[in-house]
Symmetry: C2
Subunit: 355 residues, 2 copies
C-alpha cells in the first residue's frame, strides 16, 4: 500500500522554519534553540520523517554502504564470513550490499562495476577467481577494498588471510606425533590457493619429521562429500600402507569416513582421518572429526574493521592480517595400530558416536 514519502521540506513547513534548521536537528548540529529543536523533533516523530540517504550521499559522496562479494552465500564458509562482516559493519552504521558471483568470472567484474555505480564506500571480496591484473584494476575504482584469503601480485591490496600452510602443517604434525608415517593427502582442486598452501604445510611437516614425501600419496579431487568418498577409495586401494588421511576440508573427510565405514575400515583404529574448517557437521558424524578450526565469523569481522579503517583514512593499502587456525582433536584420529598407547597423548572422545 505504501504511503507518500515525507521530505525535509514537509517537516520544515509544518514547523514553520526553513528546511535548513530541520537539517540541523536531524544531524545533531548546534545553533538551534532548544525550543525549536524540541518542536522539530516532535514533528519528525509524528510524521515519521526519515532523511533520504540517497540525497545525502549525493552531496557527501559517502553512502555508508559496503559491498560484499562472495561466490555463493549459501556456502557455509561465506555465509559465516558474511555474518561477521555484517556484525561489525552494522555496529559502525554501515549497510551491506551483497553480491553473489556464482563462481562466474565475468560476473565478478560485473558486480564490482555495479558496486562502483552505487558508490559503495568500500568492498570486501572473497574467493574470486579473477586474474590479478584485472581484479587490481577493478578494485582501483574504490576508496577502500579488502581481500579475503587472497594476495595480489603488484600493488598490494589489504587482505585478511587464513594461514592455510600452518593448518596443513598442524594437521600433519598431529598425525606424526601420534606415530603415523604413511599419511595420505586428499587435496582439493589443484588450482585452489588455499589448497596449495595446505599442501605446502603437509610437506613441511613431513620434511621436518624426516619422512619421505611420496607423490602417489597425494590426489586432487573436488572438495565435496562424494568426491571425498571417491578419493578415499582410490587412495586406500592403491596404497594399502596408509594409516592416516589428511583431507582438504571437512566435507571430503566426511566422505572418507563414509568410504571407510562402507569398506569395513575402522576409524581411527585402522585409518586416522583429519579434516579442515571445523564445520558443524564435523561434530555430528561418527566418529566426530578431528579438524583444523578456521574462525570464519572472525575473518569477516576483521575484514570489515580493516575496511572501515581504510575508509576513514586510518589505514593504508598495504595492511595484511594473517589468521591462525588451530587444531581441534576429536575422535577420528589416534595412534596407528602397533604403536603403544602409553607412548602417545591420546585424545578423549567428547561425543557419543552416532549410528
Amino acid at each position: 500500500m505504501s504511503r507518500r514519502r515525507v521530505t525535509i521540506s514537509d517537516v520544515a513547513e509544518l514547523a514553520g522554519v526553513s528546511y535548513q534548521t530541520v537539517s540541523r536537528v536531524v544531524n545533531n548540529k548546534p545553533d538551534v534553540s532548544e525550543s525549536t529543536r524540541k518542536r522539530i523533533q516532535k514533528i519528525i516523530k509524528e510524521t515519521g520523517y526519515r532523511p533520504s540517504q540517497i540525497a545525502r550521499s549525493l552531496v557527501t559522496a559517502r553512502t555508508a554502504t559496503i559491498g560484499l562479494v562472495v561466490p555463493d552465500i549459501s556456502n557455509p564458509f561465506f555465509s559465516a564470513v558474511a555474518r561477521g562482516v555484517e556484525q561489525l559493519a552494522y555496529s559502525q552504521g554501515y549497510s551491506i550490499l551483497l553480491c553473489n558471483t556464482g563462481e562466474d568470472v565475468t560476473r565478478e567484474l560485473d558486480v564490482l562495476h555495479t558496486l562502483h555505480e552505487r558508490y559503495v564506500d568500500g568492498v570486501i571480496v572473497c574467493g574470486l577467481r579473477q586474474e590479478d591484473a584485472l581484479l587490481q584494476e577493478a578494485l582501483a575504482n574504490f576508496k577502500a577494498a579488502v581481500l579475503v584469503n587472497r594476495r595480489l601480485q603488484g600493488e598490494p591490496v589489504p587482505a585478511v588471510l587464513i594461514d592455510d600452510e600452518l593448518g596443513g602443517y598442524l594437521n600433519t604434525q598431529h598425525l606424526i606425533q601420534l606415530g603415523h608415517t604413511a599419511i595420505g593427502f586428499l587435496a582439493g582442486p589443484a588450482a585452489s590457493y588455499s589448497g596449495t598452501q595446505r599442501r605446502l604445510g603437509y610437506s613441511r611437516a613431513l620434511v621436518e619429521a624426516g619422512i619421505l614425501l611420496e607423490e602417489k600419496w597425494i590426489t586432487n579431487f573436488t572438495p565435496t562429500v562424494s568426491d571425498g568418498e571417491a578419493a578415499a577409495e582410490v587412495m586406500l586401494q592403491a596404497n594399502p600402507e596408509l594409516t592416516a588421511l589428511i583431507c582438504h576440508n571437512d566435507l571430503m573427510a566426511v566422505g572418507a569416513l563414509r568410504y571407510c565405514a562402507a569398506s569395513g575400515r575402522r576409524v581411527p583404529e585402522d585409518i586416522a582421518i583429519i579434516g579442515f574448517d571445523d564445520i558443524m557437521l564435523a561434530t555430528l558424524v561418527s566418529p566426530p572429526l578431528s579438524t583444523c578450526h578456521v574462525p570464519r565469523v572472525e575473518v569477516g569481522r576483521i575484514a570489515a574493521s580493516m575496511l572501515i579503517e581504510q575508509i576513514n583514512d586510518k589505514a593504508d593499502w598495504s595492511d595484511e592480517i594473517v589468521i591462525q587456525p588451530h587444531l581441534v582433536i576429536r575422535a577420528s584420529t589416534a595412534a596407528p595400530a602397533g604403536v603403544s598407547d602409553d607412548a602417545i597423548m591420546q585424545p578423549t572422545p567428547d561425543h557419543i558416536p552416532l549410528g
Copy 2:
C-alpha cells in the same frame, strides 16, 4: 589507492557535446546520430565512466535495490533463501541490501528504518518475531514487501508460505502407512508458527486414521541437535510404547538418532525417525534420514519475483503463494516390528550407512 570519479560532464566535455546527449546514449535513448553515439561510447569506454546510481535514484525515485531482512545469514535456511533471492534479483537488475537482525526484535524495526532511508524499492522479510501491528506499520513505508513464512493479521501483505501443516501431515501419514500407531512428536518451540502448523498436520493425519491423539506423546524443545537428543530421551523413557518419532526439524532428528544409538535402539527397526527441512546433514547421518523437503532456494526466488512484480505494479498486496514440501524417504523409517513387510511398501535405502 582509488581514482577520481569521472562524471557525465567530463564525458560530455571530452566529446564536445552537452551532457544531455551523453545521458541519451547511456540510457540507449533515440535521437542521437550514429556518429556522435559511437564517439561518446568510445569516450565512455576509455574513461571508464559509470553513471551514478545515487544521482539517478534521486531523480527517478527508484534504486533498483531490494532489502533482505533475515535473523541470521549464517543459518543455512536463510542463506539458501538469500541465494534464491539474489539469483532472481540479479537477473532483473536488482541488488540486495542484506540485514541481519540477530533475532533481536528492536533491531528488526531498526533495519527496516535503515532500508526505508535508503529508498529500497521493496523488502523481503524472513523470520521476524515482531508483532503484527508494528511490523505492518513498518512495512507500510515500502512500495513493495514480501513476507517469508509468515502471515499478517489485518491488511494482507504478500507472502510466500511453506505449507508446514501439509509437511506435518505427510510425515505422519507416511508413518501410519508403514503401520505405526504410537507416534511421538518432538516439537519445536511452542511459540513457533511453523511448529504449530506442523503439529496441526500431525493431528490431522492421526484423526484421519482414527488414531487417538495422546498429549503425552508431544513435547516441546529447542530445534537443535542436543535438544533433539534430550527430547528423544525424555520421550522414549516415558513412553516405551512409541515406535516412531516425528521431529520438528532435521537437527532434532539427528539428535534423536544419536540418542537411539547411545541407548542401543536400532533405527528404523526399533524406532522410526523422520525429520523436516532436508538439510545436507540428513543425507550424511546413519541411517540417512527420511524427511520432508523444503525447497529453500526456490522460496527465495519466488519471494523475489513476487516482490519485483509488486514493484512494477503487476501485482497487488494480497497475493500469497504456498509452497508444498514433499517427502523424501530414506532409511530412518520402516515398518514397526511385527508388521509384515509384504503388506507395506518398503523404501530402499539409497545411501551407504556411516559409522
